[in-house]
């Protein structure tokens, strides 16, 4: 309860600002509506009500967004395209797969970079460069070539292949924060801790598992939180070129083609809730790991 209190207060504050902003942002359109309808001297309360309940508002209000969320989750069977749960699930599966692939890749690259100077010098600049390539430009390539390879050469059925294509984009976005964080983390042991391993003539893998890896934990979890969020962004972006079939990204985009503002916001919130849940899940794992590592309570 003590933890819920502040959240509620902050939420209330945000909702208050939200509704106030909705009046301002939706007012021009509302005035146009009144003008077209030749309505003059509309009472202010009526005006406020109207701005809060437009069909295609610039800024939809909380009750509209949550109403839509409710309608498209609780009132629709979760296996129907109208259900946000269906789309969230599609996005989540690509995110999860991409996150796992991206994290493994990120950690793997960090390990190579930390252990091998040639890797460090040759790989790092290119890893950085890879991230500056706009994925949306690369995505069609991945879709055209990757998807064909998956379904053609490798004979994977379309659905898993589509999942893989999205997961690749998701992994592409998430491996970088993990790699950067882990390079730092794996290099964070104090000199004397490394010296100790040196005196035991520990093999690189022993030094890694017994020293570098545990020492990198704080960096790992900060990176994983960013990474899982990036994975979700990647999965959503990846949903655009895979033919906008299903998923929160497809839903967002399709919503925008028909100016379904409320629907867009509902999908946005669904994505954010998914992101928050994923980040919190990583946080829970972090706490468990910290406890098992005997972390000192702050």
């Amino acid at each position: 309860m003590t933890r819920a209190g502040p959240i509620i207060v902050v939420l209330l504050a945000i909702v208050a600002i939200w509704y106030a902003a909705a009046i301002g942002l939706n007012a021009p359109w509302q005035n146009d509506v009144y003008r077209r309808g030749d309505m003059v001297d509309v009472p202010f309360t009526q005006f406020v009500q109207d701005t809060w309940n437009q069909e295609k508002p610039v800024l939809p209000t909380a009750h509209q967004v949550f109403g839509e969320l409710w309608n498209s989750t609780a009132l629709v069977a979760p296996n129907k395209p109208r259900s946000l749960i269906f789309h969230a699930w599609v996005t989540f599966s690509a995110t999860a797969l991409g996150f796992v692939m991206g994290s493994l890749l990120g950690v793997g690259l960090a390990v190579l970079i930390v252990h091998n100077e040639a890797m460090n010098r040759s790989l790092m600049p290119w890893i950085v460069a890879s991230q500056t390539i706009p994925i949306l430009a690369l995505a069609p390539l991945i879709v055209v070539i990757g998807f064909n390879i998956f379904t053609g050469t490798m004979g994977i059925p379309t659905d898993p292949a589509r999942l893989m294509s999205k997961a690749i984009i998701s992994a592409y976005l998430s491996f970088f924060p993990v790699a950067v964080g882990m390079v730092k983390g794996l290099r964070s042991p104090e000199a004397i801790q490394l010296d100790l391993m040196h005196t035991y003539n520990a093999s690189p893998s022993q030094t890694f598992w017994k020293l570098r890896w545990p020492a990198a934990m704080p960096f790992l979890f900060a990176s994983l939180k960013v990474g899982v969020a990036a994975s979700l962004v990647g999965a959503i972006v990846g949903e655009l070129p895979t033919g906008a079939v299903a998923g929160l990204g497809a839903r967002l985009l399709a919503g925008s083609y028909y100016s379904q503002t409320v629907q867009i916001w509902a999908a946005l919130f669904a994505a954010s809730i998914l992101a928050a849940l994923l980040v919190i899940a990583v946080g829970v794992v972090e706490r468990l790991v910290n406890r098992s590592m005997g972390a000192r309570p702050a």
Binding site: P241, A244, R251
Partner: protein, 307 residues
């Protein structure tokens, strides 16, 4: 059984109803075909997909198809289900646009991604610079929705008769408040949705045969859609796995699209082709290099002859 993969230019909507109907009604099956319809999206270039082997046949606008051909993707038009074009430039009178003479100094929303060629041809014809300034027009890359008009960020925006124009009206703006320019009426109309394949495949008679079956079934689908607009709209809706569209929107779109496919047998009308090519060539500029010379062999009747 023969399989065909069709890559659409855009997301599932009534614009492509003929294909979805043909599939749902079993017309493809009757021809012994299994057809996979791949929806497109804002960054899917069907030309790229077909070049990469991801599709057997694609739908695209002719201008984009010819542009791709000049850039090394040898696309050939095998059929033209859309007889008429539906591209409009829709302006707010309130913003001061009544005639083309009012354009200078205004901001115009344009769709890019291969959809901009008609616009540039038109501006070339009108002699307006697209670089802004007092005698030019300010060009906005418009997202694929009508927000810029409703938010009054642009004086004019691109719309399709069958989609965005309806959205503008639905938003509550009346036709009286709008000035609408139809590209066809301005003499810069270009052929829209056609079916394109790679030239090298046409050397294979079996492929031509397969395409003939495909086009025949597709045209049957279009015919059915014209006769049963409501059912067709529902079929499209059933094929949309995003769940974002409404039946109302699709029914409107179906009705308008039916006006565009009206009168097409599937075969390309060479006069229409020539008009598109001429318009494109009239507007060649470094900014807008759709094509620089008249294309050769960009269409064939081989497929539609067999209908």
């Amino acid at each position: 059984q023969d399989t065909v993969t069709l890559q659409l230019k855009w997301v599932t909507q009534a614009q492509f109803a003929g294909y979805y109907v043909a599939q749902a009604k079993g017309f493809y099956e009757e021809e012994g075909l299994t057809v996979e319809i791949k929806p497109g999206g804002p960054d899917i270039a069907p030309e790229q997909v077909i070049a990469g082997g991801g599709a057997d046949v694609i739908t695209t606008w002719m201008a984009a198809g010819l542009a791709a051909r000049e850039r090394g993707v040898p696309l050939v038009n095998i059929a033209q289900p859309f007889k008429n074009s539906g591209l409009l430039l829709t302006c707010l009178k309130e913003a001061g646009v009544e005639t083309t003479a009012d354009f200078p100094g205004k901001t115009l929303g344009v769709w890019f991604f291969g959809n901009e060629y008609p616009f540039y041809a038109w501006m070339a014809k009108l002699g307006y610079s697209t670089e802004g300034g007092a005698d030019g027009v300010e060009v906005l890359k418009q997202a694929f929705n009508v927000d810029p008009l409703i938010q009054k960020q642009a004086a004019c925006i691109s719309t399709m008769t069958y989609n965005e124009y309806g959205q503008v009206l639905k938003a509550g703006i009346t036709p009286e408040e709008l000035t609408v320019f139809n590209y066809r009426d301005e003499g810069v109309g270009m052929l829209e949705d056609g079916l394109y394949v790679l030239e090298e495949n046409l050397a294979d008679p079996a492929f031509v045969e397969k395409m003939t079956k495909f086009v025949r079934a597709s045209m049957k689908g279009w015919e059915y859609a014209r006769a049963n607009a409501e059912e067709a709209a529902q079929i499209v809706l059933d094929n949309d796995s995003t769940g974002a569209m409404t039946l109302e929107d699709q029914l409107y779109q179906m009705t308008e699209v039916n006006k565009l496919t009206e009168g097409s047998t599937g075969a390309l009308d060479e006069a229409d082709y020539q008009q598109t090519v001429d318009t494109l060539l009239s507007a060649v500029s470094p900014d807008n290099p759709a094509i620089t010379k008249a294309p050769e062999g960009a269409f064939t009747h081989a497929v539609t002859d067999g209908l």
